[in-house]
Symmetry: C2
Amino acid sequence: MQWVKVLGGLVGASALLGLGIILGHFAIPKGAEAPAPSVSVSQDLDLEILETVMKQLDASKIRENLRELSREPHLASSPRDEALAQLLLQRWRDPESGLDAAEAPTYEVLLSFPSREQPNRVAVVGPTGTILFSCRQSEQNLTGEQGGPDVVPPYAAYAPPGTPQGLLVYANRGTEEDFMELQTQGIRLEGTIALTRYGGTGRGAKAVNAAKHGVAGVLVYTDPADINDGHSSASQTFPNSWRLPPSGVERGSYYEYFGDPLTPYLPANPSSFRLNPDTVSGFPPIPTQPIGFEDAKILLCNLQGTSAPAAWQGALGCDYKLGPGFRPDGDFPADSQVNVSVHNRLELRNSSNVLGIIRGAVEPDRYVLYGNHRDSWVHGAVDPSSGTAVLLELSRVLGTLLKKGTWRPRRSIVFASWGAEEFGLIGSTEFTEEFFSKLRERTVAYINVDISVFANATLRAQGTPPVQSVIFSAAKQIPAPGLDGLSIYDNWIRYFNRSSTEYGLVPSLGSLGAGSDYAPFIHFLGISSMDIAYTYDRSKTSARIYPTYHTAFDTFGYVDKFVDPGFSSHQAVARTAGSVLLRLSDSLFLPLNVSDYGETLRNFLQAAQRDLGVLLEQHSISLGPLVTAVEKFEGAAAALGQHVSALQKDTPDPLQVRMLNDQLMLLERTFLNPRAFPEERYYSHVLWAPRTGSVATFPGLANACSRAMNTSLGSAAWAEVQRQLSILVVALEGAAATLRPVADL
Amino acid sequence: MQWVKVLGGLVGASALLGLGIILGHFAIPKGAEAPAPSVSVSQDLDLEILETVMKQLDASKIRENLRELSREPHLASSPRDEALAQLLLQRWRDPESGLDAAEAPTYEVLLSFPSREQPNRVAVVGPTGTILFSCRQSEQNLTGEQGGPDVVPPYAAYAPPGTPQGLLVYANRGTEEDFMELQTQGIRLEGTIALTRYGGTGRGAKAVNAAKHGVAGVLVYTDPADINDGHSSASQTFPNSWRLPPSGVERGSYYEYFGDPLTPYLPANPSSFRLNPDTVSGFPPIPTQPIGFEDAKILLCNLQGTSAPAAWQGALGCDYKLGPGFRPDGDFPADSQVNVSVHNRLELRNSSNVLGIIRGAVEPDRYVLYGNHRDSWVHGAVDPSSGTAVLLELSRVLGTLLKKGTWRPRRSIVFASWGAEEFGLIGSTEFTEEFFSKLRERTVAYINVDISVFANATLRAQGTPPVQSVIFSAAKQIPAPGLDGLSIYDNWIRYFNRSSTEYGLVPSLGSLGAGSDYAPFIHFLGISSMDIAYTYDRSKTSARIYPTYHTAFDTFGYVDKFVDPGFSSHQAVARTAGSVLLRLSDSLFLPLNVSDYGETLRNFLQAAQRDLGVLLEQHSISLGPLVTAVEKFEGAAAALGQHVSALQKDTPDPLQVRMLNDQLMLLERTFLNPRAFPEERYYSHVLWAPRTGSVATFPGLANACSRAMNTSLGSAAWAEVQRQLSILVVALEGAAATLRPVADL
């Protein structure tokens, strides 16, 4: 209790009131020494520093980073992955260009790997048991980089081992509707092997849906129609173009949730409680294996049965039939079956995050987080190294200014290189589980730059409304590469735009799902988050994603030659994300425009009124309280905006600014309710939790309505609709209360 | 997005660095007007103001408050309860002595009342169906205040209606063990009426336990041994002494949880989703009725059967038998049964909270909450008006200083008069449900003064460790009433003390259960809380509580004559709570000594090692990680203490102090985990959730161990022990992380 006694001494010291241009004189307690030099509490964003950073972000250095990062495969927890963690540590500890401190904490997490001894195998087996055909077990070595022991063979991570065998059916994308369609067509699914193509639903969902219909095993391939704009020949694909070669296979995690599967809500420290792996939910229920379209073609084009619906047809050059089984006039005897041999193993592995910090000069307890994962499936030049290459360049430029003494941010900046993202955002999720209190109370925003360049046409950003304005501000001041005089913003608006009731035509921000490491930050902790990248010209390609995604062809050469020659798009992303980072870390007033949530709420509300209103009315459920809550939010946000303007014209004292910034920072947290969706692991954000159904509205309400739709009046499902509505109203009213003057009752 | 544009103008203004004694010059943005006068950001506790407040707290004004508050019965939601809400509003809006603002928001909550038309009745019914004896339906009108329509007859709130009839058994305190004992004694409980006495377990638990054994109805009475130190005659009891008269009956809520029963986790606003009352859990399962010991004696002293165990005997002047049924040589025929007729009704009622605020001058977004409930069972002079009388006097003194312009606190002070506490802390719980985000982020501490004076011997305080030091500081500077020269602290330590490893002998703070409105603040929101009162000399009475608790004899005269003649104990509580309030609202450095949590953690840990260590070891569960976590906490707390000392010697800038204060304020929040105890409604604090069993240690661990104890190795119950241990370790590590330097990784 020493400090309570010291306080006694302080109490008598009289405080001086400062007026005029000088505010905040401090009484000096008796016995105090001369005060140490202090930074200015009014430190604000310095446009010269911002300009310097923009200039120093160097495309060729990003290219060199990428070359090094993608030199070898660096699957999560592999020696090369850990070596890259050390590389990051070394960079962030560099005396000339490093950060204030860096560490590489490790979690012990459950990963899934194919067996080296027993490779997974997909084969056609004749009626006598002879193997008539086997799919490739690895991709073709086209550039000398697809061989070698560190290239993990294609597999479906977390798919269980097993060797099911049965007649083949074609199940389109493996959605619930697809399997219903097969049943409608009278196709017996019990014991079959379902060939599905990527897209339409999550990876793991294909197996989940299949198993419900008695399917014994699932194959997944990438159709050239979906990834190559229809092209499939070797001459038209990598290394002759950016397109996926016939042998390319998309790897991926088939786990339904995110985070370490054995330690939900707990960090995967060695001593942490772990579930029994046999009882973990969320793994695919049946063996599943991905294959290339070259092999898929042999299977699919030999199927018998009725033709698949038009929407199910692809670009393999034959009429897709449904099966079951092969046609008698094809390559295989009619009774041939497909055998899927999966020998994946679950393993507890050490996986590192790398964290580096630049301590804030004025508000070190406010964090701007900037992160990306480090682990890849193979070389991962695009995914994730294009992001890490940008991260390293940004940290180099800022680190150099820091070490020179030129600059120190107002708030702390934390850089993160997450481990094991590919297996389910594991490193980032464990981090949020370990430090939830501290992060929740102190984090201003999370910036994610995973794949920084999908393609070089335009910026693309996803985020919650409060980050819209800061991304716009950044994008307006940065030239778009290769488009003389056009800003990134001006270019962006040509590709993605929407009509805002507030601002007119603006670039449209996507919303955040769970596609990368921002997920635990926004959904579990309620931290305003964003994901920034350069991406496609959709008039030139309809590819689901860049074609070599998660294959052994995602290499440095691929990026250097096809994705972003010259690395100017990488540089553009570095500048955009860097500008956003600096604005968030250095601006006196946090550039989070919370009133932009009003537009989202209004849109969600209108969608609810339009598409659910009649249904709700039939069940005597009124949207009135929700309308009122949205209006309260809008009113409070508008009044706060005026307060901010007034403060900015005046000479605010540092605490006034801090109080305001706390309101802005914490608004996102007010939408969090850990009891809203008890069955949705980690999802606590009442506006951005997963939504089923097509109505773009409040997810809890929409989901509850779709579950209640066919139940009777007074059912538990209708009670849940009302509960969800109340949860929403309370959250919005709470958000409004957070924005209102802080001493309002 | 206007303010983002304004920011552009600000950005260019250069910031000046202030050195020497002047810190925090502010750049003036172009176009800004002359800054408005500002309060000093270093405003600290003013000892003269504190002294003034202590002096002005007036015992006779508290007495007058109490007279007015307890003039009429003011059961929750009754006209008089609402009139008192208006009285509070009026006081807090008084231009001379009021607060800055006051409001009386209303919730629509589910209460339970006896029927006026069909009074509850307990009767002995002879073998032929004749009523041989009826218990009183109201208390004896001893002072002219026990009659009239506003005195609610004794009842068990939320006990269901019903008219069970059966043989009477005596079940001591109605604990699980008590009913087991009856079974062991071979007594058939099916269909019986169980007579129980208050104490030993919660009210509702008696009925829950009874119903498990087939009991059809429950009676509850207060034994003179437990409340009157054995005395029971009219001449020895009120109005001749402070003791409970023979007809006195303790009313109370028999609801198991707290908060409005129909809206768990949601505020009970008119539009909120409500559960169907028929499906609500937590109500007593069988009809239950409380009676006076005068009537209990007639029932109990006529029982037949074996003598009850010695520990079950009381002071009714006969040998307590177990039953079932009456002895043939007694007042009733041998086959007589007891009929319990309960006609309670559930009603949705409007209940108001009254809230008043004094806006903070420097940090208006930091709230010190001070509250008490307003509703009583009858006149409620002690419970709760003794607390409200103090509340009103404290708000008068502070309000007067405020309106005179003499003083304005550094932080905001929120006064609250909660509604419907007696039914289950309803008003306060609904308030925390409505404003959880705002309260969670901004509340420094919650001070509860419910019954302010149980008796006039000594101060008694309950609270979490961070509030210990501020209560000690206050108590040391206030004279104990009637003890010349002794401080409240010096007197307190004579009655309640413990040996602290840190400080030696100190007064011992009790821990917070769910006995008053602090419960939702500490358990649901993780806000450091306390409850302050004056209480008994335990060498003079062993009464469970003050004898007229929840009866119609808890009147102004009772207090004025027996509890605190002269009201000096009331004044002492007003001064103590007032001093704590001022210290929390006005001190530059928050007087929350978080390092005092270290001692609690160490004690809990040692208890776990001592009493659970062997058991855990047998199941290969190591306490090692918990030991490490406690050590980390201690280390971080000690280092923070040094940081505070250094800051206090130096001239800290306002943001440094704010950052530190945020660490202190938010520490309590780090112990909250809404997923720790999913079955314990509202209880999320991993250190103070309810604990079964006698080991004073971490509740989650203790409870899980006692559940696992008799299960086999590898059971789900043992997995839960490990999960609880991990939850605890993560919370403590998170707490340590919150206390460590804010820019540590």
